[in-house]
């Protein structure tokens, strides 16, 4: 551990602390985004580039956008206002003490852990030439433990439907009158960055088979392009999702389940693909998943079922 790592660790704790205690909601969100970026850097330092990408794209990027969108939706009267904590001081001290004990116990427990040599991870690396993709993380996500990945993609569908349901009783204000859209910077930013984001996202998905990256990271970046278009008022919302949008939202899950179920009688196991086709199927799954993930994340941001293009 060198000075840089020590400094990063210290900064992480400091940022988390500030993020929790800062009275202004907006600053708290900004601190959270910075925290996410620093965390991504930490993952990179720990030789986990996949996690670093995911953390940067989803943890800092998408989550930051969602938080800022929510903050904006809270309306101007609340801005800058101290979020009133309903917890009495005693309970706050108690929860702080509880967190400290938990953190201490976890740190001590992690310290006691042996380095295991014969676990599933080692076995996965040894088996690596076998699966259709040589990239270890992708092999785990789309082959060894593809079942987990498939179930997780269903979470996105639930989240999107949940957002629609949660939103309607709460507010229906956030749409057209949007300050950011009128700034002169926005069109320039959009023209500059939207194509870059699209290409970067597509690259991340494609690269997932060989190097760090994949459907989740790539999808998040693609979603960012969509968010930019929505902010620049090239993408508007609609009260209902058309059939094409609905299809694209579930395309990844459909292809994933379909490939697994259709090949099951021949392979005698769910999601076991014949060797010749395995690579092709996994790519297909990865690309369609990326599209579905990108759209789901974008819809989480816009908060309404439908999307429509705005020419201009």
């Amino acid at each position: 551990m060198n000075l840089f790592d020590a400094l990063t660790a210290l900064l992480l704790v400091l940022l988390a602390w500030r993020c929790l205690i800062v009275p202004d909601l907006f600053r708290s969100i900004v601190l959270f985004v910075v925290f996410g970026l620093l965390l991504a850097l930490t993952w990179a330092r720990l030789d986990a580039p996949d996690l670093a990408l995911a953390e940067a794209a989803i943890g800092a990027g998408v989550l930051g956008v969602l938080l800022l969108g929510t903050w904006r939706a809270l309306g101007s009267p609340r801005r800058g206002e101290t979020p009133s904590s309903s917890l009495p001081a005693g309970l706050r001290v108690l929860s702080a003490a509880g967190s400290a004990v938990l953190a201490g116990a976890l740190a001590y427990g992690l310290h006691l852990l042996p380095g295991t040599g014969d676990g599933a991870g080692t076995l996965a690396l040894e088996t690596l030439p076998l699966p259709a993709t040589g990239q270890p993380v992708t092999a785990v996500l789309l082959d060894f433990r593809s079942y987990d990945t498939l179930l997780e993609t269903a979470v996105l569908l639930m989240a999107v439907v949940g957002t629609w349901l949660a939103r309607s009783p709460l507010l229906d204000a956030l749409s057209s009158e949007d300050a950011t859209a009128h700034t002169p910077v926005m069109p320039v930013l959009m023209r500059l960055f939207a194509p870059v984001l699209l290409v970067t996202g597509a690259y991340l998905v494609w690269a997932g088979a060989y190097t760090p990256g994949g459907a989740f990271q790539g999808g998040a970046v693609l979603a960012a392009a969509g968010v930019l278009l929505a902010l620049g008022r090239r993408l508007g919302t609609a009260p209902d999702a058309g059939w094409l949008l609905r299809l694209l939202l579930v395309l990844g899950v459909l292809v994933f389940i379909g490939a697994g179920l259709l090949l099951m009688p021949a392979q005698n196991a769910f999601m076991a693909y014949p060797e010749r086709w395995a690579g092709l199927i996994m790519h297909l799954v990865e690309y369609t998943l990326a599209v579905s993930i990108a759209l789901s994340l974008l819809l989480l941001f816009t908060g309404r079922p439908g999307l429509r293009g705005i020419s201009g």
Binding site: A105, L106, G109, L110, L112, L113, P114, T116, G117, D118, G119, A120, G121, T122, L123, A124, T127, D143, F144, R145, S146, Y147, D148, L151, E152, A154, V155, L157, M158, A159, V161, G162, W164, L165, A166, S168, P169, L170, D240, A241, W243, R246, L247, L249, V250, V253, L254, I257, G260, L261, M264, P265, Q267, N268, A269, F270, M271, A272
Partner: protein, 484 residues
């Protein structure tokens, strides 16, 4: 074909949810009905095969453990899947009557509920610690939007509270799984259990984290804070599904861990008695709260808090009788509680409110609904003949066998308190009005047969479970892993 059934039991419901999402504002209830059939059929086939052939396993992707994920359908899984299918079908029929598919929000029920069904089956079939986490998340994240279907601001705040506490529980569980993976290098429950033998400080920590996380999700006192609001403000079919199945999924996982990888840390007497103590607290606190609630649905919700407590009494007794008793109690409660919530929902729907003091005299007008409530109440109280009686009877024998007579007293007290809150409602409903002027108000809305009969069938099933002990306990079989 047989080894495909576990996969189909997970993915046909998920597929049904996706298809119903795609179909959009489609042609009414037929699509939904198709979804129900598609979801229920593989479950029932799987249960039959397990009953005939015993445990069925499936290696996902053809990868053997510890590399891949194992699905396992043993007696306990099969029983839970059967409970889900039976309650699921009947609640679905009720929902067909209640939710108009032309209404945008109601339509989402038919997306979320099949997804929840698939997620529940996935959880009951999981034999992998991390996969169990994923499925538990899936169950929670399908359940929370369902609460939102009520559409009120109150439901939104209840759902958000549920979300925050559930995420806290998930985080604790996941931290425990991470520690176990760090210790053993495997996630398969059986392999991890073998490698964890001998215990140690880290194993205890991991067990504490995982169990606490599950207790939060199962709404065991003192982590019950989210349940009454969420279950009380959701639409009736959703409340029924949440109380009968969703909280039980967390308890199921607790039992699964106890009978498998975490047997050693959870069998230490101090831990076992601590858990049983929480169970006792849940039984007494939940029942007393149920007695004091002003609204019918909240009575039923607090009753769930109380009834879940019985399932924790297993730990210090740890014999076959207690195992059978606890699980039978869980199944019987699932059926009876679904009936109670549907009946309460029907009452609320018909008279426009569920304030108990204002129920006076409505019993004669809403005879079927209150009759259903009363019949389901028999099983909740644990009176013979009913499933609730059988579960509690087995549990009582186990406590007396273990010499824990005061636990037997708690079980009896819980039954008495349950009688108190059930009869409080019935007394209000069947009390004659003071004067003719108040009169018996006619219902504001009428319910159709689709909403009326499923509740009654569930209530009668709760009674029938009192006679079905033998085949169901045979299906359950011995304790897995030779625990205890």
């Amino acid at each position: 074909m047989t080894e495909m059934l576990p996969v189909l039991a997970v993915f046909l419901p998920l597929l049904a949810g996706v298809i119903l999402f795609l179909s959009g504002p489609g042609p009414g209830g037929l699509w939904a009905l198709g979804g129900i059939v598609l979801s229920a059929a593989p479950s029932l086939l799987l249960v039959r095969q397990v009953a005939v052939m015993g445990t069925i396993e499936h290696l996902m992707g053809g990868w053997s453990v510890p590399l891949g994920i194992r699905l396992m359908a043993d007696g306990l899984s099969a029983l839970m899947i059967l409970l889900t299918a039976v309650v699921g079908v009947l609640v679905s029929i009720h929902a067909l009557g209640l939710f108009d598919r032309r209404d945008a929000a109601s339509r989402q029920f038919w997306v979320l509920w099949p997804l929840l069904w698939g997620a529940l089956n996935a959880l009951f079939l999981s034999a992998d610690l991390f996969n169990a986490y994923v499925t538990l998340e899936l169950v929670t994240l399908a359940a929370i939007p369902l609460v939102l279907l009520a559409g009120s601001a109150r439901a939104v705040s209840a759902a958000l509270r549920y979300l925050i506490l559930a995420l806290f529980g998930s985080m604790l569980y996941l931290a425990g799984v991470a520690l176990i993976y760090g210790l053993t290098g495997v996630l398969d429950m059986q392999l991890a259990g073998e490698r964890l033998a001998g215990g140690g400080w880290v194993v205890n920590l991991a067990a504490a984290l995982m169990v606490t996380g599950l207790l939060v999700k199962a709404a065991i006192v003192p982590f019950h804070l989210w349940l009454p609001d969420a279950h009380g403000s959701a639409p009736a079919p959703v409340s029924a599904l949440l109380s009968a199945l969703v909280v039980k999924a967390a308890v199921y996982l607790l039992l699964r861990l106890w009978s498998g990888p975490l047997l050693e840390p959870l069998s230490q007497p101090s831990v076992a008695w601590l858990l049983a103590g929480l169970g006792v607290a849940a039984i007494l606190y939940g029942s007393v709260q149920a007695l004091r609630q002003p609204r019918l649905k909240l009575v039923v919700a607090y009753s769930t808090v109380a009834q879940l407590g019985y399932m924790l009494l297993l730990f210090p007794m740890a014999g076959l009788l207690a195992w059978q008793g606890v699980i039978y109690h869980g199944v019987a409660h699932g059926v009876a509680k679904a009936a109670l919530f549907l009946a309460a929902g029907n009452i609320l729907y018909q008279i426009g409110h569920d304030r108990i003091v204002d129920l006076r005299g409505s019993g004669t007008v809403l005879a079927v609904s209150f009759g259903t409530f009363a019949i389901a109440g028999i099983s909740i109280m644990g009176l013979p003949p009913s499933g609730g009686f059988l579960g509690k009877w087995l549990l009582l024998q186990a406590t007396l066998g273990a010499g824990a007579w005061w636990l037997a007293l708690v079980i009896l007290a819980g039954g008495l308190l349950a009688a108190g809150y059930v009869f409080r409602v019935l007394r209000a409903a069947f009390q004659l009005p003071d004067s003719d002027a108040e009169g018996m108000e006619p219902p504001v809305r009428h319910i159709g047969p689709l909403m009326r009969w499923p509740a009654l069938v569930l209530a009668l099933l709760g009674i029938a479970l009192g006679f079905a002990g033998e085949p169901l306990l045979a299906l359950l079989g011995d304790m897995p892993g030779g625990a205890g």
